[in-house]
Amino acid sequence: MSAVRTLVDLLAGRRDAGDLAPRDWDGVIGAARAEALLATLAHRLADAALPPSVAALFADQRAAAAVARAQALWEAEMARRALAPEGIAFVLLKGTAYAAAGLSCAEGRQIGDLDILVGRHDIGRAEKELIEAGWEWVKPDPYDDAYYREHMHELPPLIHKARDRMIDVHHTILPRTHRVTPDALAMIGDAVVADGGFAVLCPSDMACHCAAHLLADGDLQGGLRNLWDFHCLTRDFAAADAGFWGELDARAALHGLRAPVQRAARLARDLYGAALPPGWKRRESGDGWFVRRLLARDDWGRPTHFALQQAFYIRSHWLRMPPVMLAKHLWTKWRKG
């Protein structure tokens, strides 16, 4: 069995860590690192019987993830101090939001940039306040800068000059040129306040955004991690609220995201063993390609299935922009090398 399959089975709880031969861990650890899931696996197997060196490595990973989580939440606090005095409300997204809300998928989850969502009317002020507070532009290329401002769902990325951390300021969750236009105002309006005082998306919107991020806005790089997020979110929300799946379906319909949400649910079932309610259990012919793409990683952590990866890369652009615009964009990018 391939290492990435073993990784998925361990996360899903289908396979007992004690059954692995010592050298099986090479590939599992390599694949988990490549998929940014090593600390997640370390949490999942915190109580499992492991070879001593694996147990030690996993303990390192859990400790490092705890530090990274504190640093990510500190970054959110820095954004709050820059924006709150000016009355600019923002909603945390993705990893920082999961950590702020204390959700189970945040355990060991790598958090890269700080992602926040602000109302479109506030985007100019938010940018000005962040720059006054020490963030700087990192896209010096005028084409890239203009592209972000005209067509993307976020400002050009900013990095803080002292802390070297990136912030992505979104005004919606998919590019403006995307075939789907989620209702960002509804997302902001229905956001909820987590224990630490930060606003996060309400449960159904959080799952919608997670599915959109996984399936509608990229080439599925890091997809296993994003799918793990979706699996944990929906499992925990459904456990706390019996009506969750119904709310999720209604909310997905509002945002135009039913297809990605349903596909994410099916993939979570097929890979992580998610229990879905009746009505969600269809199979679709394309799902197999997604599974193959998500598992396209060999025992040395290298990407495999090059043609399939390319196909998903092209698909991501196809979803993100209309054909003529795509042609222009690729032409410009190609000329710039």
Binding site: P22, R23, W25, D26, I29, G30, R33, A34, P51, S53, V54, A56, L57, D60, Q61, A63, A64, V67, A68, A70, Q71, W300, G301, R302
Partner: protein, 288 residues
């Protein structure tokens, strides 16, 4: 991958895969005297690979990959495959290791106490440590020194010493030729030849040592000793650490304790003999 081997240096078990046999054979020769545990899972993976299949044979060039990569790192010719492997191993430790605070520093130990030598490339820290390691000292490592956050002890990382340029002849004159790897001439870092540490240093690689002295060597100029204030030592070591920030509070506590408890000096020296004499002199004062 087609060819692979496993190497344990200090606390890190590496798995190294390669599209070519030569770098793996060279590693196996260099690390033949290191303890091998073939059943132990790898902490870190290094990959040496051809960017395109035909580049395995046609002007073969070795790209360095693994768990962590440097996006725009230039490939090396196959004749420098051993250097590529060494760089790949260093990279995985520098970017991936979290159990200890990593200092980009060489170290030697005696009687369970360590002298840590920190400095830029060219400061002579590797050569000085290698020379001391041929005498009364145990070579702990020429590249990384690991600080255990809870105990404050130093742990060694005695990989094969990377001798550069003039240091090659200086060491070759003193050691058994069997302990030297092949000469890698004209690499981006100059001429390189690896020195296998003494068997007793390899055997003792898991033994911790209490930091006794931190030195910042500078090759060139008259012999001089300059006491260094804790603030400067702290800042210099944060710059010499590849994971200080990632370790958060534990890193701060470990480094603050190291600086507080360990006397530190800058030393300048015109030649290796003078450098070694300065280390011995400061050591005698520190352990008195």
């Amino acid at each position: 991958m087609r060819h692979s081997t496993r190497i344990a240096v200090g606390p890190v078990q590496f798995r190294i895969g390669s599209d070519w046999r030569a770098p793996i054979d060279a590693l196996d020769r260099l690390y033949a005297g290191y303890p091998k545990d073939m059943a132990r899972p790898a902490d870190a993976t290094v990959r040496l690979f051809a960017a395109r299949p035909w580049r395995r044979w046609l002007r073969p060039s070795v790209h360095i990959g693994g768990d962590f990569i440097v996006p725009d790192a230039l490939p090396l010719p196959l004749s420098m495959g051993l250097l590529a492997a060494e760089m790949g191993m260093n990279l995985q430790v520098a970017l991936g290791w979290r159990r200890h605070m990593l200092l980009h520093a060489s170290a030697v130990a005696r009687d369970g106490r360590a002298v840590i030598l920190s400095g830029e490339s060219g400061s002579g820290k590797s050569t000085l440590a290698a020379l001391l390691g041929e005498g009364a000292w145990r070579l702990m490592g020429d590249e990384f020194t690991l600080i255990e956050p809870v105990s404050g002890d130093a742990l060694g990382f005695p990989r094969a010493v990377s001798l550069k340029n003039a240091a090659i002849a200086e060491m070759a004159a003193r050691v058994d030729p069997a302990r030297l790897g092949p000469l890698l001439a004209g690499t981006p870092k100059g001429d390189i030849r690896h020195l296998i540490p003494r068997a007793d240093a390899i055997a003792a690689m898991h033994e911790p040592a209490r930091p006794a002295l931190i030195l910042f060597p500078r090759f060139g100029g008259a012999a001089a000793i300059e006491p260094m204030a804790p603030g400067e030592v702290f800042v210099r070591l944060t710059e010499a650490s590849t994971n200080y920030v990632a370790l958060g509070e534990a890193g701060f506590a470990a480094l603050a304790r190291l600086v507080r408890e360990t006397p530190a000096f800058g030393i300048s020296y015109p030649d290796s003999a003078a450098g070694m004499a300065l280390v011995e002199q400061l050591w005698a004062e520190a352990v008195r």
